[in-house]
């Protein structure tokens, strides 16, 4: 499994271009999250892909060829913080509720909705942690589940920032293409 981060133009069709590219390279995407950044014109993607290092290089380099992709980087081997968030609706009656609450506490999850026959549990953390909670919840009866997919960020001073706009449009100059 390889993790890539991409900064893309925040406009219609870009997600399609990115996912279509992965399809064309026959790379299966495990999860893909998109969200805005502090700059509203730029969105950030975390792509978790079923491929090896070589496949990740191709995906990274091919993504960067897309006009709307500002930067793509394989961060799999770097020190990462990764988070996944899940909402899990689990069936809960009066009898097993206390037991459930114990488990939720152990996993540092929290109950965000209470109904007579069920609870919604919100949990965030690494994929492993959420998978672990899911495992112990299964016997109670998982009724519904929604997961965000992974978001990742390199730790500490290892910054991954979108390139700054180039006011001089140096790319235009360098191609020698000028209006006549």
């Amino acid at each position: 499994m390889q993790t890539l981060v991409a900064y893309v133009e925040n406009k219609p069709g870009v997600l399609n271009r990115v996912s279509s590219l992965a399809r064309r390279l026959a790379i299966n995407i495990d999860s893909l999250t998109v969200g805005p950044t502090q700059n509203e014109e730029i969105a950030r993607m975390t792509i978790v892909a079923h491929t090896d290092e070589r496949g990740a290089h191709r995906l990274e380099a091919s993504l960067e060829k897309l006009v709307d992709v500002l930067l793509a980087e394989n961060i799999s081997t770097r020190a990462l913080l990764e988070r996944d968030l899940a909402l899990i609706k689990v069936s809960a009656d009066q009898q097993n509720r206390p037991h459930l609450m114990e488990l939720i506490k152990v996993f540092r999850a929290r109950v965000v909705d209470v109904a007579p026959e069920s609870l919604i549990i919100e949990v965030s953390g690494t994929v492993d942690k959420i998978d672990g909670l899911l495992e112990v919840l299964r016997p109670f009866g998982v009724l519904e589940m929604a997961r965000t997919g992974r978001i990742s960020m390199t730790r500490g001073g290892d910054l991954l920032q979108p390139p700054a706009p180039d006011p001089t449009n140096s790319e235009l100059e360098s191609t020698g293409l000028k209006a006549t």
């Binding site: 069709g13 960067e64 060829k65 006009v67 930067l71 790319e171 293409l177």
Partner: protein, 570 residues
Amino acid sequence: MKLTGAEILCESLTRLGVREIFGYPGGAILPVYDALGKSKLHHVLVRHEQGATHMADGYARASGGIGVAMATSGPGATNMVTGIATAMMDSSPVVCITGQVSSKVLGSDAFQEIDITGITMPITKHNVVVTRAEDIARTIREAFLIANSGRPGPVLVDITKDAQQASAEFNWEGSAPKLPPKRIRNNHDQAEFDRAIEMLNTAKRPIILAGHGIMVSGAMRAFEQFVRAGNFPVAMTLLGIGCFPANDPLNLGMMGMHGEAWVNNAIQEADLLIAVGMRFDDRVTGDLRTYAKSARKIHIEIDRSEINKNVQVDAALVGDAREVLERLTPHLQTCDHTAWVRHIAELKGDSAVRDIQSLPDNGHLYAAHVINDIWKETRGEAIVVTDVGQHQMWEAQYYHHNRPRTLITSGGLGTMGFALPAAIGAKFAKPEAEVWVVVGDGGFQMTMSELATIVQEKINIKIAIINNGYLGMVRQWQEFFYDKRYVATPLVAPDFAALANAFGIRGERITKRAEVVPTIRSARESAETVLIDFRVEQEDSVYPMVAAGASLSDMIRRPNNPLVETATEP
């Protein structure tokens, strides 16, 4: 100044240096055609939109500039798909402009509405829908910039009819491209560069694999200096032909599936491959597990996604071929590869003797003779545009190109029907050049309607149909690999000379070798288009050959006497 979107488009194209547009009108692009009529742009009416894209492609390849194709929405746009994919695979800068239904009805399955940007997403470098007149100038400028920068490729601009009709302020200076900022990558660090230099200076058996990127980069001079400084023998990909003079002693010719066996053997024996602007296509490498096992590899390539894609390399110099070569050359030490070059010459062995050109006339007409005679008569100076198949490989083997951009052929996609329209585009790009079409009887029938375009535009090209009555390359594969079961390859064709006459074009039919040269001469003397139907040997095959997926070392060689022997299994 207020202009309509259609007028802004025409004005923008004019300012970008466009002279010709290859296209076909229709409902959703009509406002643009109305504006075209009032502009200085010359519109070439094609007979099928695929032809328009191939013409724009041929124009781009012959000139190094950008070719422009235009079509209406729906079927007009979908007919462009093959031509766009052809340009994509061969990194050709083509800008396609399509009309689209009005933005108000987008997504409603309106008449002739199709999601052409969705369809062409994987076969364009970039594509975009424009729904506002005020965005047209900037979008077109961006399309031109994207198409011909970095690794070139096709860009499609889909303009809704209401955007063509609406009025907007035309402000050229204010419409400069505003593309998203890109990370400037440190393409290759000093260590990588030093490693490449070390390899270049210590190799005993180096060989250059020269590709299309040399031409795209305009690196011919830098490449020649690099070759001379290092005394490196040069093998070329199909699209690399012309990047280095064929008559240079260091030029070995084409490599790969139908390259000469001794060229492929030299690659297999090499201790260093220097790949420049090529992408280790399967037609070049054969079986990757046995490919150049004893060679270290340097890859000079502008597209980072090509690095280690097919072949793992020891040094990757990502960048423009000219810049990288100019940086490398001063670091080359005096390299004497005379022994290696002599050894390669020895590898030739009896190849030249087996060559069909060396054999006496036995009354049959061979395609190789026809193409070799065209080469001799044109002194190798014509622009030759080929289709795809046997004739294409014979052209690569028997027409020796000394100058860049004189062989125009569909390499990556292998698009039959490419030659005739691409040659029309090439002629518009180089009106003074002699342009020859070399095409099979199969491919010609795919796009022969463009003969009418030739007549309407009064252009002068020479068309050589290598007519063997078969889909020859497929027949050859059936002969070699399917026990000569010729399924769906025998091909009925019209009388091409009579067909040409019906279009108002002079047509000739040649069946004997003695008639070849006089007919070529007389065709060249004509100021108009001439079509020559060369009825060549029907079951001739292209030799040598690496079977698909076989090792480069394992070639099907020429028969000792191809005039009497039939092909034998390796």
